[in-house]
Subunit: 343 residues, 2 copies
């Protein structure tokens, strides 16, 4: 059973949850889920968009038996205040409660993984939210909830964009391009590579994933003629990872790393910055890419899009990415459970 | 009739020329071409790879009637010295002669456009070649040959990567990533947009192409939260182009600009740097992307790959990109001629 958060209730998250249930509830081995939300709001939304989705408030332990017949809702006390397309700061506490409850239920063993609907950072920040983003907030929650059971390293979330065509990790993410060359360090790349390799073994049942690093510069610097970061930083980080027994390769020119024949030669690409990672996956798999957070003590996925406030009142949002996120979360949780049993 | 240069004779260029002739010579409306090269070397290469390509040394004026029966070769006196896969500095003068002759024949009206095979800059530089690259060298040649007939602006070559799926221009090209933020200026973007719009009208018969500019930063800077270049430089450049009557749009987040639905909304994407432009086109059209130089007083295309010295001795090179470059050059030259007649 997966825990799904509601996300910002003025965005498309709740609508996508209803659509995902419609698409999945009759499937024999469906990635079953409950949503942590205001049940009345979901009921009203189903009525508004004329979606035949029965809503059932329940305890997490009852959700599995309910899922084939109704959308299981683990209720929170915060009632939705905002209207569709018009986000309201008053909903921030409920949005955060949904995420905190989901993490606590995973920690308590009442959910096997966590799938998050999109939030709007600006809305939460106006209510005092002090984290850089969704993923960083989950990192802090994980540290608080699981801290005692973790090995001595701290929680360091790593974003993986996953689709059947391509899996890619941006080593740096939401920073201005001008800061990227300074932020790409030996330590960052080694730690990123280590976390990817570890989580691929644990959750993708892939003991020796092939990690292909991009260069930072055009043509991966052409032996230093267009930048030295490949020589001074990226190649030494790859060498260190190989010393640790990890199959790290590169740095490769980024432009020729993402066509079909190139993709067949690695399992995960590790790119140096946001657009270098997100351009190829959104070009190849715009509707179905899933955001996976590695480095957490639990499975977490999310659809690879935002709240889409602009279309939230129309009922036309495409649930493909959320459904893909649910399927992948279920697969990763099953793999991890099977590996634990085998160990 | 197109003029094809031989490129570095130790690379795959001559082999691709033989293969392109085999693929095209029986086609009724083929993009016919002659190659400017050492005829003996081509004959020996055809024999080595057992390709049934008759070679005919000729004058450019005879090439059209020869093309259906044999590969027309406009001979240069420099004999090839290097062996396949082993580039030789002694061949630099012949490589350059082939390019200079091609440009002169275009200027003399004996060729309608120029298609260039790949060169190796390092080899040429060891022989004293002082230009930044192939395209810059052609810019200088054009200035010298056509200078008297050009309007007062100087020749400013602009690289366009073209495929049926996507046309994209990198505003900066072969520079370290760390230098990109400083090099992306208002003047550069306005000039680039102007040249693209002008050449699209002249050679693609597209009087009002829709130009979509990317942002420099993730999410196009998110209203200044992740970098200010969009606000300070890119948006003003777009506004200036619109003031000049050019349909410029953006800046748009680069990661969501290259999936099929997004591509339908513009004709040419103008990206800020090398990988932002080349990742999407090489992901979508690895074998068939063509490099087009805009801003020159003649049509010039080239295959979107290098000399590939590593496979040059094997005879296995894929001529798709050269064939696409020949087809596009013929189309652009025909369009320009038709527009001139109409004017």
């Amino acid at each position: 059973m997966l825990a799904l958060t509601r996300g910002d209730p003025s965005g498309i998250g709740p609508e996508l949850a209803l659509k995902a249930w419609l698409a999945l509830h009759e499937e024999p081995a469906a990635p079953a889920f409950f949503i942590i939300a205001d049940a009345e709001h979901l009921g009203a939304l189903a009525a508004r968009f004329a979606m035949p989705v029965p809503i059932a408030i329940c305890d997490p332990s009852e959700a599995a038996s309910i899922f084939p017949k109704a959308l299981p809702v683990v209720a929170i006390s915060e009632k939705v205040q905002g209207r569709l397309s018009q986000p309201d700061v008053a909903d921030a506490s409920g949005t955060l409660r949904s995420i905190e409850t989901a993490a606590a239920l995973v920690q308590a063993g009442q959910a096997t993984g966590l799938v998050t609907n999109p939030i709007a950072k600006e809305v939460l920040q106006r209510a005092g939210f002090a984290h850089q983003g969704h993923t960083e907030f989950l990192g802090k929650l994980a540290q608080r909830l699981f801290g005692n059971h973790l090995p001595d390293e701290t929680v360091r979330p790593v974003m993986l964009l996953w689709s059947p065509e391509l899996a890619v990790v941006p080593a740096t993410i939401h920073v201005p391009l001008a800061q990227v060359p300074k932020l790409v360090t030996f330590e960052l790349l080694v730690e990123t590579g280590r976390i990817v390799a570890q989580d691929y073994a644990r959750r993708f049942a892939h003991a020796a994933p092939r990690l292909a690093f991009t260069g930072l510069n055009p043509h991966a610097g052409e032996s230093g003629r267009m930048g030295r970061e490949e020589i001074d930083i990226i190649a030494p980080a790859i060498a260190e990872l190989r010393r640790q027994g990890i199959d790290a390769r590169g740095p490769f020119p980024a432009d020729t790393l993402f066509h079909a024949a190139a993709r067949a030669r690695y399992d995960v690409a590790i790119a140096m910055y946001h657009d270098q990672a997100l351009i190829p996956i959104k070009t190849l798999a715009f509707e179905t890419a899933v955001n996976v957070t590695l480095g957490l003590p639990f499975v977490r996925t999310s659809p690879d899009h935002g709240t889409a406030f602009d279309i939230a009142a129309e009922g036309k949002a495409d649930p493909s990415s959320l459904i893909a996120a649910l399927r992948l979360a279920a697969r990763l949780a099953q793999t991890e459970a099977a590996q634990s049993r085998a160990a």
